[in-house]
Amino acid sequence: MKSDKKKTSEIGKVEKALNLKPEESLEVFSKEKQEEFASTQEKYKDVAQKFQHIDKSNYKEYVFHKSPKSSHFKNMFWAFLVGGLICVLGQAFVELFLYLGMPKPDAFVLASSVLVALAAIFTGFGIYDLLGRFAGAGSTVPITGFSNAIVAPALEFRCEGMIYGLGAKMFLVAGPVIVNGVAISVVIALITLLFTGGGG
């Protein structure tokens, strides 16, 4: 504990030198922060012992140990929740169109196009990227993410003109997805042809 106290006082010096407000320094030195500081030190104790001499050869490994990891559970939870909600919304549209008396294939097509349009509008208002900040794959994997990937560069490169900006850069993010999608679908089609003899 002694060493911890020393460290915080040393940081205090720097804060003073940087002339921060007292309130901010209080925020930095709150008890929770101190505990956090101590716990991280304990965490990296064995790592520090392992890397007593950092060299060009083991630097990458050292950085990997040192760098903070994104919490998979939290990311997965948000992705599941948001992705699921988007799918529920899509299903709701399908049910609505069926209730209105639309034939089944048309209802599916219309529901997905409504979702695409909604995502494009929300991208324009700057809401969809806020969603993507914490939802991750939950907002990129559904069809809405594809819409976002086309509209975002289109908005961004509009100022370079309609042809060299918007036209050229529109598929900057979505382009690789389309190319790979087509290529993989060809491969899968060939495999199914092999196994089912073209009947399926």
Partner: protein, 402 residues
């Protein structure tokens, strides 16, 4: 181990005689205004676009504002400026060169990514040491234009990695002069230009780890050249290593035999609050420029700080090299800035204790005397420092409140 032999044989530190850091001006964006150092900047944009059509144009206008601002603050005429040195993060350093169109001064474009500010200070100091009288060093970046060039479009919903840094929006301009305008003008005394170091980090999101070895190398070179130790300095300020890079630098420096724990601070890590969700802190060419030209300059002038080492760190990669699987080489330039105030750094900080009534009386008398002497000397009054004008403003406000 070949590095050590090189360090011992070749000295890379250069020394300057009469180079004064006479004025600074900082323009920042809205996010930096809400950050930790928000009160200290000269000029802040309410709107990220600065009433322009595109972000690139906004960045250009910010550069123009900074150049005009630093000239207005120091009362130097546009004709008196001999050269403008600087750069930014955009391709072909467009913002700086376009903003220099309006000026009659010679122009030098600089680029070492986020170390641009330190590099332009070194080159500016060298020019003043040999030839010129007034040189403006400028450096800046804009979040939206840099993000668009280096990463993804703004509106694209992507999950940010916890190792990423936030490119700060801002421009910092410095006027270096051969003659000191005021007695408390800080001085640039030495500099160590860095060399390019590549530890083969390939993660574009983890710039701090790529730049920390370069910073360590330059610091080590400086200490071995001058025979000084980190304890001789009030502050060692790295450019934009971020929180992670700062910790790595601490580890690396301990291994190299000098301890920075007392006085290491990072510009990027000290710009934002954690609730602003910038993860590792700020980065970009503006990062060190806006911090040095605002709070650090104030501290050096008021004598709260005796000297500091500014270590600008730059990651020299482009999108192409990243996609082609190359590592991220990095460079770090070091500048030593010292305060000209006598007994600097020894006075207790006013903010951390409440002065007694007698002391306040003494101070007021002192101030009155100083003001009288200043009124006698017109030139001094003209070049009055920023802190004085701030005090006047505060006094006015207090009077109004009463």
């Amino acid at each position: 181990m070949t590095q050590n032999i090189e360090n011992n044989i070749k000295k890379r530190t250069i020394y300057f005689d009469d180079v004064y850091f006479s004025e600074g001006f900082s323009v920042v964006g809205p996010k930096e205004l809400k950050g930790k150092l928000g009160d200290h900047f000269d000029f802040a944009l309410i709107n990220d676009k600065y009433d322009q059509k595109t972000f690139e144009k906004a960045e250009r206008k910010m550069f123009e504002t900074a150049i005009d601002g630093v000239m207005a603050k120091s009362k130097v005429l546009p004709i008196e400026v001999d050269a403008i040195l600087g750069g930014d993060l955009l391709d072909q350093i467009v913002s700086t060169s376009f903003s220099a169109r309006k000026s009659s001064a010679s122009f030098f474009g600089m680029y070492t990514a986020c170390a641009t500010y330190a590099q332009s200070l070194i080159m500016g100091a060298a020019l003043i040491h040999g030839y010129y009288n007034n040189v403006i060093c400028i450096s800046g970046s804009h979040f939206s234009s840099a993000e668009r060039q280096y990463r993804y479009p703004l509106e694209l919903g992507v999950l940010r990695s916890p190792m990423t840094q936030w490119t700060c929006t801002g421009v910092g301009a410095t006027l270096l002069t051969k003659n000191a305008h005021t007695p408390n003008t800080p001085k640039i005394t030495a500099a160590t230009p860095g060399r390019v170091i590549d530890y083969d980090i390939k993660d574009v999101n983890n710039m701090g780890a790529a730049m920390a070895p370069a910073a360590c190398d330059t610091l080590k070179q400086f200490f071995s050249d001058t025979g000084k130790s980190p304890q001789d300095f009030d502050l060692i300020l790295t450019g934009d290593l971020g929180k992670l890079g700062k910790e790595i630098l601490l580890d690396l420096s301990k291994q190299e035999g000098f301890d920075l724990t007392d006085n290491l601070a990072d510009c990027g890590a000290s710009l934002y609050f954690t609730k602003q969700k910038t993860f590792q802190g700020g980065s970009g060419a503006a990062c060190s420029a806006i911090v040095v030209n605002s709070i650090i300059l104030d501290n050096l002038r008021s004598g709260q700080m005796r000297n500091l080492l500014l270590v600008g760190t730059g990651a020299l990669m482009s999108q192409l090299t990243a996609y082609q699987g190359d590592g991220i080489p990095a460079v770090a330039h070091l500048v030593e800035i010292t305060s000209s105030v006598k007994d600097a750094g020894r006075e207790p900080l006013e903010k951390y204790y409440q002065p007694k009534k007698e002391e306040i009386k003494m101070k007021n008398e002192k101030n009155a005397k100083n003001n009288n002497s200043k009124n006698n000397n017109v030139k001094n009054k003209v070049n009055n420092s920023k802190s004085d004008s701030k005090n006047e403003m505060k006094n006015k406000k207090e009077n109004k409140d009463k």
